[in-house]
């Protein structure tokens, strides 16, 4: 299922026709990752298949530890990073959830590991198709979280992610997400940069921790008590100070993310908004669609149609999900009238995560925009342009009537076709 038979076509010197998965693999190759460890899962598998191919062809001098589970994959990555290597992996859905225990281990020890995530919905029931539930579920573990809209962006964001993660001012792990199948298995032209240029942009890792330097004896990640420990030999922070430092590093990473994005733009000529979010037709717009990943791609088309109706609609496509760029968003939205949020995820028991987080971020604005959220495309259900358009109409209508609610609104549901379905009678022949 995960094997793609496509042949990569080279259209000119540097532009290749690549799937999103292979764009990620090429970025790992050119970032000269030293240790990779992964476990197969759909739709991520072609990333690591490609990496295995690079290694066997001698195009990448890396150690690939082919582990027996994702939990072990990230455990290998953590230990290899703590030993001083540049490290990365790739996964999806259940694989990411299985890694969960190791995610705060990586951020807690400030290990600059990169995970590529081909997003996929979570079971039960089983599904291999995309939504962003896996991506949003790990939002509280202290990782930088990017999400991409096309394969070039996957390649570029990976290269930036290593530079950001390894920045000595922060040292944080980062995850680069892209929609399963929609990007992971779809071919697009991707410009690959020259190796020398990339080497100049991304120098070798200078890690803050390095077990391989055995002359410098150290213990890493011991039991850390609530309070500071003081003794004649020195003073060590308590757990609380470590957590403060992690949070501050995340908060301050936003500037570094912008800085690296700008540097990348100057060097390679490609940019993604301000590196935090991308905008389309927002200058004159009083109504903004707010979403991320594959839904944003669909919204780009919807805006054009909505504009033909005379509606001044624009799009903000979130690229950086964590740390949450609340200040940037507050600044951007302070003069806007209406925001319509499309979530390909749910904070179950509440509403779409993008929706409620944006509401919280805009709290305190003098003129708060109207906000309405919709749920779309869970489990790979097609997100169609007309869903976005109908959502915008529905929201503007509600705002006009003064209706504001946190109740979830699912677009693209098809309950009509199920009107005769009742699970309690399904097995008795109805």
């Amino acid at each position: 299922m995960t094997v793609s038979n496509e042949k990569e076509k080279v259209t000119n010197e540097n532009i290749m026709i690549l799937t999103g998965n292979h764009a990620a693999a090429h970025a790992f190759r050119q970032a000269k990752v030293g240790v990779i460890s992964a476990y197969p899962i759909t739709p991520q598998s072609p990333v690591v298949e490609k990496i295995a191919e690079f290694i066997s062809e001698g195009k990448l001098k890396a150690r690939f530890v082919k582990v027996e589970s994702e939990h072990s994959a990230l455990a290998v990555c953590c230990a290899a990073s703590a030993t001083g290597s540049r490290v990365g992996t790739a996964t999806s859905a259940h694989g990411l959830e299985y890694m969960y225990e190791m995610l705060p281990w990586a951020s807690g020890n400030r290990l600059p590991i990169i995970i590529n995530l081909a997003t996929r919905s979570l079971g039960a029931p089983w599904s291999v198709w995309t939504d962003h539930q896996d991506f949003i579920t790990i939002r509280d573990v202290g990782w930088i979280q990017f999400i991409c809209e096309n394969n070039q962006e996957i390649y570029d964001t990976n290269l930036q992610a290593f530079k950001i993660a390894e920045d000595p001012r922060i040292f944080l792990p980062a995850i680069v997400a892209y929609d399963g199948y929609i990007l992971s298995h779809t071919m697009m032209p991707v410009k690959l940069e020259n190796q020398e240029e990339i080497d100049g942009f991304l120098p070798p890792l200078k890690h803050h921790i390095n077990l391989s330097d055995i002359s410098n004896v150290k213990g890493i990640d011991p039991v850390t008590t609530p309070n500071i420990i003081k003794r004649a030999e020195g003073t060590a922070p308590g757990y609380y100070e470590y957590r403060y430092a992690l949070q501050k590093a995340l908060e301050n990473s936003i500037n570094i993310i912008k800085e690296v994005h700008d540097e990348f733009f100057k060097k390679f000529g490609r940019s993604y908004g301000n590196g935090i979010y991308k905008t389309v037709d927002t200058n004159d717009a009083n109504t903004i669609i707010f979403t991320m990943g594959s839904v944003a791609s669909q919204a780009r088309i919807a805006i054009k149609k909505l504009r033909t109706e005379g509606l001044k609609v624009g799009l903000v496509s979130l690229k950086l999900f964590r740390p949450y760029p609340a200040e940037d968003l507050r600044e951007f939205f302070k003069d806007k009238e209406n925001i319509i949020v499309f979530d390909r995820d749910i904070g179950y028991g509440y509403e779409g995560v993008l929706s409620y987080e944006l509401k919280a971020a805009l709290y305190g604005l003098k003129n708060r925009p109207n906000i309405k959220g919709f749920i779309v495309g869970l489990g790979g259900r097609d997100v169609k342009t007309e869903h976005i358009i109908s959502g915008v109409h529905k929201a503007l209508d509600a705002f006009k009537k003064g209706i504001f609610t946190n109740k979830t609104d699912f677009l693209g549901l098809n309950l009509e076709e199920l009107k005769d379905y009742d699970e309690s009678t399904y097995f008795k022949g109805g």
Partner: protein, 300 residues
């Protein structure tokens, strides 16, 4: 066999650790580090050894240690090894994973099995105190029959998991058993294992005064009884060849073995053992040695 003067005088553990008085594991770890030397990196999952290593800021060992979540010891060692290979330091530095019986036979078995199957070049040492001692003596897959723990107040059902056999089935070049009561035997084995390429597995019985219910002074004595009664045979399997270790060699003869009651009666954890369970132990030990005998004979 090595002599006490063959052991390096240098210590790799500073005195004043958090280990309990009379801890079998502390002695095992001390001897292992003496044998492996300073060019070693250790990885440790949640266990009593985590506690021995100390809290934030300051550790008790002169060898670098990487603490890793409970289930990941085998994977963590694989990561350190892969990074050393990436850096071209793999021939110089020995990687030692040191886990308790829970971290080995229960939650750690998957990562360990994966690392062994991949032929990862490292030593995995399980110090087996036969229950979750660090969390307050709950039963593990390595707890022997009839033992009272806080989760088996009536005594554990069934024998302990034969972990060395499971590792042997991975076809790794070196599997051995050990015990804190025979430190010279342990020293020799660690020294040997350091020079073997591939996965090396140690299963070391580690008497625990509070968990087993005896006076700290008796740690060595009780461990010796485990060997003398035949309950814990010391052996090596080197590339598939079974070799009975010297301290156990004479117990191939059943008449030389001390009665199992001598081992069981001096530990509070066996207090509720029934007469029937003691008989089961006798059969268990007898069968185990029959198998060893057959195996040795088949090699001749």
């Amino acid at each position: 066999m090595v002599n006490v003067m063959d052991l390096p005088e240098e210590e790799y553990i500073y005195p004043g650790t958090r280990a309990c008085a009379g801890c079998g594991m502390a002695l095992i770890y001390r001897i292992a580090l003496k044998a492996l030397g300073s060019k070693t990196i250790v990885t440790v999952p949640a266990s009593c050894l985590t506690v021995l290593h100390g809290m934030q800021g300051f550790c008790s060992t002169k060898i670098s240690v990487y603490h890793t979540p409970f289930a990941t010891t085998g994977a963590s060692a694989s990561g350190i090894r892969a990074s050393l290979e990436d850096k071209g330091l793999d021939e110089e530095i020995c990687v030692l994973a040191f886990a308790g019986d829970g971290g080995t036979t229960d939650i750690g078995i998957q990562a360990l099995s994966g690392a062994a199957e991949r032929g990862t070049n490292f030593i995995f040492a399980c110090y087996d105190n036969e229950a979750y001692m660090n969390t307050g003596v709950q039963r593990s897959g390595s707890t022997p029959l009839g033992v009272r723990t806080t989760t088996t107040p009536e005594g554990k059902l069934g024998h302990k998991k034969n972990m060395p056999k499971i590792l042997e089935a991975h076809g790794i070049p070196y599997v051995t058993t050990g015990i804190s009561s025979y430190p010279l035997d342990l020293f020799e084995k660690f020294k040997k294992a350091r020079d073997i390429f591939g996965t090396k597995y140690f299963h070391i019985l580690s008497p625990c005064p509070p968990g087993w219910g005896y006076e700290p002074k008796d740690t060595i004595l009780i461990g010796r009884l485990a060997v003398q009664t035949g309950f814990w045979p010391l052996y090596e399997v080197i590339n598939g060849k079974f070799i009975l270790s010297k301290p156990s060699s004479k117990y191939l003869d059943p008449s030389k073995r001390k009665p199992i009651e001598e081992y069981l009666s001096v530990q509070k954890r066996f207090k509720t053992l029934s007469a029937q369970e003691i008989e089961i132990y006798k059969t268990y030990i007898n069968d185990m040695w029959q198998e060893i005998k057959k195996r040795i004979e088949s090699q001749e």
